[in-house]
Amino acid sequence: MRKIKYFIVIAVLALTLSNNSYSQETFTNITYDMSVPLGNTADFISKTSFRGFSFDIGRYVTDNLAIDLRFSWHTFYEEMPFDSYYDGTQTVTGRQYRYINSFPITGGIKYYFNSSSHFMPYIGAGLGAYGQYVRTDMGIYTVENRQWHFGFFPEAGFVYEFSYGTGFVLNARYDNTLAAGGHDGNSYLTFSVGFHFRH
């Protein structure tokens, strides 16, 4: 957690103090996100999430390199069939409604391959804190685990500017969190599409 704090402080300082000739511009990405659960996340909820968004602000450090801060919200949901669950001699039968709400707050870097063009492919990576609420409703009862996890992600995508400073952004990101507080981490692949604004 301490490392995450240092990383965020350095990223904020870089955003505010960076002052070379290429680094005057900032950008904002606002995207609609669709997430495919993987690993033990898919064991709990197998359905793709169509409820998600990301808000990403960043600054170009050089023509090709940018740093950014991202906030996302991804909601996974699945209604399980009427089924029995066993624990030793105990059996509970009913319908389960399962939810995961994931709130990544991350810092990252992006490298643009073709920054002087309208079409700018990029790769990136980052890390940060992920708030993850994992909840199961069954009958009139519920159980929920709220836990902050350390997580990281690689991503790849492109920006297409259709007019100066305004364009589309499309990317794919693999968010992965580590176990924390006795709770497993989660992993999922997110496809994002949205707007890119360069200021």
Binding site: T28, I30, R51, F53, F55, W73, T75, Y77, E79, S84, Y86, D87, G88, T89, Q90, T91, V92, T93, G94, R95, Y97, Y99, N101, Y133, R135, D137, M138, G139, I140, Y141, T142, V143, G165, T166, F195, F197, H199
Partner: protein
């Protein structure tokens, strides 16, 4: 000017995004029956196949729980008949005299009107030990939205006791079941769910294998 418009546009989108979510807990129950749960537990050291004679009282025991509401008694015969038919299917014989029985079967009904969050399964007076399911609490309807609510649930408990050879204050409960769900306003719907859920309780271990 163009730059300013772009900034305004981006902030409008940012403000609109969370609205698109509306709720972080989509979906959920649609019908009363979606709230039904059937819990069973048993003593794995007890031989259920060697004690096939049972005694069951002609009445259902009623417990008020945390509510002052009068408990509906109109399903009493239906409950007892359904239990008996399930016991018969399993090969048990109902005895009129309790002295001829290997085990006793008792049914208890309670209703609870919830006006908030407060009752934890596993900690209730009736359950007495489902440690693996601790931490559950009532959520329905609208938990987390900050308004007060009231609703009524019905619970049916079935217990099988192994009477001791000598007179004692306590008896061993070798099998118990708790059936719980939101009470519907329709008698036909409630009766159909009672019958189905009693059948389910007898279709779980130790009377049926795990699926």
């Amino acid at each position: 000017m163009k730059k300013k418009l772009r900034k305004i546009f981006s902030f409008i989108i940012v403000a609109a995004m969370p609205l698109a979510f509306f709720s972080c807990y989509p979906g959920g129950v649609e019908y009363y029956s979606d709230t039904d749960i059937i819990m069973t537990n048993y003593d794995e050291d007890f031989d259920f196949n060697a004690n096939m004679n049972y005694f069951m009282p002609d009445t259902v025991h009623y417990a008020k729980g945390d509510s002052d509401d009068e408990i509906e008694r109109k399903f009493e015969d239906d409950i007892l008949n359904r239990i008996e038919s399930n016991m018969t299917k399993l090969g048990y014989t109902r005895q009129a005299d309790e002295n001829d029985a290997d085990v006793y079967v008792v049914a208890t009904v309670t209703s609870s009107s919830y006006t908030g969050i407060g009752w934890i399964p596993g900690g209730g007076w009736w359950w007495g030990g489902y440690p693996g399911w601790g931490g559950w609490y009532p959520w329905y309807p609208g938990y987390g939205w900050g308004y007060s609510y009231s609703y009524t649930t019905g619970s049916l408990f079935m217990e099988m006791a192994n009477p001791p050879a000598t007179q004692q204050d306590t008896v061993d409960i070798v099998w118990n079941s708790a059936i719980n769900g939101l009470l519907s306003t329709s008698d036909a719907n409630t009766l159909e769910r009672i019958n189905r859920n009693i059948d389910q309780a007898f279709n779980q271990p130790p009377f049926a294998p795990k699926k």
